[in-house]
Symmetry: C2
Subunit: 254 residues, 2 copies
């Protein structure tokens, strides 16, 4: 380890100790926020996870709620701190609150390895219920921020998730169920698509979210019957008669 | 006031003082539970509310979460304490957490009128986020329990709600939206119906939940296409050829 690395590590540890000391004055006791950040890339639905220290485990981006901060504002702040994103689609969907979630041995052990023993009765050892949100983002705009606790920020195919800590697997599963429901009901899908798209691209999004195949003609008929898509003028070029139509979501339906 | 009334009131006030003293040791800081209890009666969707003391204001049944109790178990316990009901359909749907909700002047004033001044910094004056559930019950089985804080337990048509405290109007509105979504997706309606029902009765439930009218033939076609209803054998009697069919939800779909 070079001297600069040692200095950096010492500074980070100092920062963490300061955080541990001041957190009880700044944050609500017992309430945290976790966010499942979904992105759609190359026909796959992905979730953004953070590597926990230098372990093989990952966790959801999340954190604590300030005493004078609305829940939704806490979720937005934490998301921005982690991804650099503002003005994104965020939806609260569930609060996990089993007592067992705050007693995860592996997580505690790994944390103590990083920052030293946390004494019994410490603020961080109390029980937390976590209010869960999901976010829909354009994955190309994410600017991930790493630090000593979270050494890597990585997109994972929702079908190929790594080992996660706490009940974060339950949270991701519930987020996906809720996204499926909202995709149909609230047409939130446009948050995951570019401005314009082909019917085939839209079908790929639905297939990735619902994790099943649709018949092309049925899918197209259903989508068009919703009256939320606008078909753009075809731009003619050499092979234009074979080029697929482009669509976009009607402004009034967003 | 008779002597027995005075004794009763003194005992209740003593009970409340004891509760105020012991609550911080028993319950989680900052987290409460509120439940919107829906019932379906005479073609109307109703919600169960509690009169706050002797005021014209009502509140949702709710309470605090024990330190060693899962969130869902707290919701079940509180519901049973208030209605006597066990084994009922309960669904978590939202957590309210704006800072303003814990600063409701009217509620604080009314509380202090009942039990005396609550000092600044008291456990009860801290900020609470509230995890919200909705319950679907057979209203004829509810056995309401009143006490000094909640002097009346009453069903209200969801379209004719009384004045409610805190953000409980927001909670009721969100519960109704979620019930609408779940009625279609999870077919939770059977929790609000008797064992068997006519198509007309089912339509009345859907109309009460969605707060709009449906065309009889379209409604019937849609319901039958879901493949969740079982039509019972017609029992012939004098006017039997005009008697409507009875349906029930298929066991396998519940």
């Amino acid at each position: 380890m070079r001297n600069t690395d040692i200095t950096r590590e010492q500074e980070l540890k100092k920062g963490i100790r300061q955080f541990l000391e001041t957190a009880p004055d700044i944050y609500m006791a017992g309430v945290s926020v976790d966010t499942v950040i979904f992105g759609f890339h190359n026909g796959k639905l992905k979730a953004l996870l953070l590597r926990f220290g230098n372990t093989p485990y990952f966790v959801l981006p999340g954190g604590y709620v300030k005493k004078e901060e609305n829940l939704d504002d806490a979720a937005l702040r934490l998301l921005q701190e982690r991804t650099g994103l503002k003005d994104i689609y965020l939806e609260q969907f569930y609060t996990v609150g089993n007592t067992s979630r705050s007693k995860e041995e592996v997580a505690l052990e790994l944390t103590q390895k990083m920052i030293g023993k946390i004494p019994h009765g410490n603020w961080f050892k109390q029980r937390f219920v976590s209010v869960c949100y999901y976010a829909l983002v354009d994955d190309t705009k994410v600017n991930p921020v790493t630090e000593v606790f979270f050494t890597e920020v990585k997109w994972f195919d929702v079908n190929k998730l790594p080992k996660v800590l706490y009940d974060h697997d339950v949270i991701i599963h519930k987020a996906l169920k809720r996204l499926q429901s909202d995709l149909d009901e609230k047409l939130v899908g446009f948050n995951l698509m570019g401005e314009t798209f082909t019917m085939n691209e839209l079908q790929k999004l639905y297939e990735a979210v619902y994790q099943k195949k649709f018949v092309r003609t049925n899918f197209q008929r259903k989508m068009l019957s919703l009256n939320v898509l606008e078909r753009l003028e075809k731009h003619y070029s050499g092979k234009s008669h074979k080029a697929p139509y482009l669509y976009r979501f009607s402004e009034s339906k967003k």
